[in-house]
Assembly symmetry: C2
Homo-oligomer: 445 residues x 2
């Protein structure tokens, strides 16, 4: 009997826990789920005979160490900053570990010891990072195998509301951590285009969008992610002339969000003064020059150069930023104030379902001919527990865990799923869960 | 015989050291000047019989402690981050201290001990902060004394090239630390206007300028400083509806500089890739979208929305940002690259003189009448040693030191020069050095 310890039972763990419980009898697994909230951990177990829920506190070193000692493999779904605490103990105690998060420097530093002890520390096996790595590497390896030379790779992912439930003018609802959406992009975005390094500061980011359409779910716009350059190494594309990764939103989102960026409403570095009695209208006015002649609406339009009759202005009005509604916070940064408003307006309704959309575009030359492969994925949530986000983050984690415990994945050390012997079986099984990439090849020129 | 220890003999110390040496015989002072460079310290002494130069290393704790022990009063002109090392030892050893820098939290924490030991730690007694405090408090106290109520206080200072030597299209040359100019304003600017808090993000800062003219030296524009709000407490103006502090440049500078802000060329957070062989033209191009149809010039104009025939574009071209000149750095941030270029273009010529301009504007109501006092200062450099910056930073430090050692200033503890018994005698003597404010009062309405 193999003991799998899952740390963190939040939204992103639901589908993963269900998968592991569903496969626990055939594989002879015991699934122990620890969370700050015993209640949440218990709910995820659903009285399964192989499941066990415990209250878990990552800061309790004794508990942390005991639980890891008593397991064979640990899946950490904790906030990413805690993974290294778990990883250090795993390596010390000879336990394997799986996470859906980026490899931190602390975790990378454990590689040699993990290899010498024949331990796997598999990271970045969620959706982004995770499914993006695997699906991109599959196509990249195929192009290279047939002798093609990659000229450009563009890849973007977005978590959005599913089209049938998309009923607000931003065509966006929070399907994931709202804070990350509000402060997204506040470091320079770096990519390479036709061999030229390109840098996009925050104040340009939401204007530098590219339009694209994905399968049958319509039009999107993509804004560049912070770091595209490091993916050249990750994907073995050191000499590729064009590489750009981005985040997907619906068309018009960028122009609307850019207004908040331009006025400074996403700043998370200082607390707003006099907040106790402030309204949203006064909040917006605090970013605009003093002028008693014009309304706040008119001042905003003049300040950021938008038409009062524009769709962008309709989107802003719909959010209620010009309303005399009290904010109701006593101490907050502009970003926190904006987040509070958006959490009300961009909340999923009880019946709403979410969607993950991902699209890769590979341009390559083969036998003197320029070709393009587009590889697209759309995953819709089943319900508000098994959301598209929960499925796409959790199912790859669970599948990889199973494949490793069953000896199909044999890698050791600190890795991400860019090797064929990892991505191939994981992608294959993901198809059973509706995570299927649709590839299309066209000739260019 | 009183022993004055001066730490740091750079440009800003020249006029201060000269003043103290000039007054050393009548006051029976010994002036010991320490600098990283013995050569620089020696030059500043000019073989004066009461002067002594030493090589001084602030990181050498033993030397630091010995030198402070052997003095009566220490003037620290070191970089501001080192003051607290000196201050801690001064308080421990019962020595007084004077600096031209902002009071840090570490120095503020020494207040009670300094008071109990009857020590003076006088800070912010240069030009900005320093002369601005003293000259503003003089007028504020006068308005309050006659029963006036202050409605608005705006204050701005700039270090620029003197008009006779102002011969480039930016009407600007470096007269002080170039790095501070390049990274200026990268935190949100906060002020209050008609009782409303106002926040200006970096990407708007150089568009939010106000025009003004000062005495006979012409037109300026002012952009808001980072923190105006804290001056309400400093100046005893807790309830003033409008308070704004800013930095002066010549008209058009803001529009030009804003181009660098908009494209991200002042970013100091990452190193530019592929810098070894990069030209300035390529550097600018790295911020612009890829597009083979248009020139870098055209792309820049389109990107930031300026006319190719505009004065802003002339200013940018004059800097050589479109030239195929190699940058010649191997590792640098965008801000460091821009600084290198500007240090060549905005250098003072051998005969050039600098200028400090400062203007306060006080609106107040007295007996139901609205009035405005404008208080203006222009100081020109004498030569490239006794620059306006060196005079206005150093002479107040020197005068205050003399007045304290002679018992005219009796304050103790950690203070800034906002008390009448400090600012009054200092301002009076500053007039002998050409630091004279011109006041003008007008009726409003």
């Amino acid at each position: 009997m193999k003991k799998i310890l899952i740390l963190g039972a939040g939204l992103s763990s639901s589908s993963m826990i269900k998968y592991l419980l569903d496969h626990s009898n055939e594989n002879n697994w015991k699934i122990r789920v620890g969370d700050m909230s015993l209640d949440i951990a218990t709910k995820k177990i659903e009285n399964h005979e192989n499941g066990e829920a415990i209250k878990f506190d990552v800061f309790n070193e004794q508990q942390r160490n005991e639980e890891i000692e008593n397991s064979d493999l640990v899946i950490s779904m904790l906030p990413a900053r805690f993974h290294h605490l778990v990883a250090a103990k795993c390596v010390k105690s000879g336990k394997h570990m799986v996470t859906a998060s980026y490899v931190s420097d602390e975790i990378q530093a454990l590689h040699d010891e993990a290899v010498s002890k024949e331990l796997l520390l598999l990271n970045e096996i969620g959706v982004d990072p995770g499914i993006d790595h695997m699906s991109a590497m599959k196509v990249i390896d195929e192009i290279k195998a047939k002798g093609g030379e990659l000229l450009a790779f563009k890849s973007s992912t977005g978590g959005l509301v599913a089209p049938e439930f998309d009923n607000n003018p931003w065509n966006y609802k929070f399907t994931w951590n709202p804070r990350n959406v509000v402060v997204a992009g506040q470091s320079v975005a770096q990519y390479i285009d036709h061999g030229k390094y390109k840098y996009v500061p925050y104040n340009q980011l939401f204007k530098r969008t590219e339009r694209m359409s994905i399968l049958d779910v319509g039009e999107f716009e993509m804004y560049p992610n912070r770091d595209s350059l490091s993916y050249r190494k990750t994907y073995g594309l050191e000499d590729i002339p064009t590489l750009l990764r981005g985040t997907l939103r619906r068309p018009g989102y960028g122009a609307g969000w850019n207004v908040f960026v331009q006025i400074g409403a996403t700043d998370d570095t200082y607390n707003v003064a006099g907040l106790e009695s402030m309204t949203y209208r006064e909040f917006i006015n605090s970013f605009l020059p003093y002028n008693v002649k014009d309304s706040v609406e008119q001042k905003l339009c003049d300040y950021v150069g938008i038409d009062p009759e524009s769709e962008t202005m309709s989107r802003l009005k719909w959010l209620g930023i010009f309303d005399d509604t009290k904010i109701g916070l006593s101490e907050a940064t502009p970003a926190q104030i904006l987040q509070k408003l958006l959490e009300e307006k961009w909340a999923l309704d009880a019946e709403d379902k979410d969607m993950i959309a991902m699209q890769h575009q590979f341009d390559y030359v083969l036998d003197g001919k320029n070709k393009r492969i587009t590889s697209s994925l759309v995953v819709r949530g089943k319900d508000q527990v098994h959301t598209a986000m929960s499925i796409t983050v959790g199912i790859p984690v669970a599948i990889a865990t199973k494949l490793f415990l069953n000896g199909v994945i044999k890698q050791k050390g600190v890795i991400v799923p860019t090797m064929k012997d990892v991505y191939e079986p994981v992608l294959k099984e993901l198809e059973e869960y509706g995570i299927v990439f649709i590839e299309k090849e066209t000739d260019l020129d």
